[in-house]
């Protein structure tokens, strides 16, 4: 049985045996790709001769299947088919390399996503971002967004500089574009479970505690919807009181009425679910936020950035600028 490193080597060394004749001159690059929460993935990129678009495939899911007894030969055959299909589909992305150099071409597609600050230090050092308590807003260019998938490009510092733009401009564009492209959603927990499990809502036992799921139509990178003050105001009206926000994952957040419990109780619950049900790449935060409808503010409820900095082993994990110690005002978005 191969370990993950050996599996990565094996796929890179043998994939050409499973590719069609026209791809035998393709270059196979073996490398690591950093994703959310500084999680690194084993990747191979297949670059056909003269092509500007190349599929990058990740080994982790395939390796899990291999460990669970999947036939390696069948996996490689499937992988070869996927690469050929990916190259055919990817032809439509050929325009990106030219479009991406001109800010005018991309500015209407700049969107925002939320990540945790502490576990994304490497990523944040290289990407324009705006701090929001223990979270950071990063910016992406949406290439394709529909109800099933989201294709996007993370904006790095070098790209922002080449465009001659600023974090402030990216933030303003993202506030305008994100609701239009990703479309915020707020549904009850019962509705969300019904959609996620594919069963009728009436088959989900109703909860005694009102719980709402805040996300977007793609259900991908939907946690940033908590920064949309219009959505938060509507939810406060629906609940009839201020509420706590639980960072379920980078894809969605939950809201419960403030009368439900203390932030400390809720924070323990978030940590339990993060430890048992959320993949490391999808974790957003272990902390709870309070939305004050009158003040239009969203702020850490169970701790503060200063407290987190004190307990952090690395002092550089949180750069506490004076304005970030205060409650943050979600911006009003244009729908």
């Amino acid at each position: 049985m191969l370990n993950l490193e050996e599996f990565h080597d094996y796929v890179a060394d043998h994939i050409k045996d499973f590719l069609p004749a026209e791809l035998q001159d393709a270059e196979v690059k073996k490398h690591m790709v950093a994703k959310n929460n500084d999680q690194e993935y084993h990747a191979i990129t297949i670059q056909p001769e003269g092509a500007i678009v190349a599929p990058t495939l990740y080994m982790e899911t395939m390796f899990r299947d291999y460990q669970n007894g999947a036939d390696l030969n069948q996996m490689m055959t499937k992988l070869g088919d996927t690469i050929a299909q990916g190259l055919a589909d990817g032809k439509s992305l050929g325009h990106i390399s030219t479009d991406f150099t001109d800010f005018e071409n991309v500015k209407d597609n700049v969107i925002m996503c939320l990540v945790g600050r502490e576990k994304n230090q490497k990523l944040l050092a290289d990407c324009p971002h705006t701090n929001m308590e223990d979270l950071a807003i990063v910016y992406r260019v949406a290439v394709n967004a529909n109800d099933e998938e989201l294709s996007s490009i993370l904006i790095h510092n070098a790209q922002m500089e080449a465009w001659g733009t600023s974090v402030e401009e990216l933030q303003a564009l993202a506030e305008k574009n994100t609701p239009r492209i990703l479309q915020p959603t707020v549904v009850t927990m019962e509705e969300a479970l019904s959609q996620a499990m594919g069963i009728p809502a009436e088959d989900i036992p109703p909860s005694a505690v009102p719980m709402y799921v805040i996300s977007n139509r793609t259900k991908l990178s939907g946690a940033a919807t908590i920064l949309n003050d219009e959505v938060m105001q509507e939810l406060a009206q629906r609940m009839g009181e201020n509420f706590y926000v639980l960072p379920s994952s980078i894809h969605e957040c939950l809201a419960v009425p403030e009368s439900f419990g203390t932030p400390q109780e809720l924070s323990m619950l978030v940590q339990e679910v993060n430890d048992t049900e959320v993949t490391p790449e999808e974790r957003l935060s272990d902390h709870v936020y309070h939305y004050d409808a009158e003040k239009h503010t969203l702020s850490l409820a169970d701790t503060s950035v200063e407290e987190l900095q004190k307990v952090s082993e690395k002092n550089e994990n949180y750069d506490t600028k004076p304005d970030q110690a205060e409650a943050q005002k979600p911006r009003r978005h244009t729908r």
Binding site: I96, I153, A192, V209, S248, H251, L254, F260, V273, E282
Partner: protein, 46 residues
């Protein structure tokens, strides 16, 4: 083996990340629903 192999596209050095609907959403939400409901019942009986 899963039908979907995790794949992004590299377009002239720019990584286009393709995300499909996350598989763990139901499990994650169910985890919260159960724990919050349980806490709610405990509070009712307290």
């Amino acid at each position: 083996m899963k039908e979907v192999i995790a794949m992004d596209m590299n377009a002239a050095g720019v990584l286009v990340e393709k995300e499909k609907k996350p598989e763990g959403t139901a499990k994650r939400l169910a985890g919260y629903a159960l724990k919050i409901s349980k806490k709610g019942k405990e509070k009712e009986h307290a």
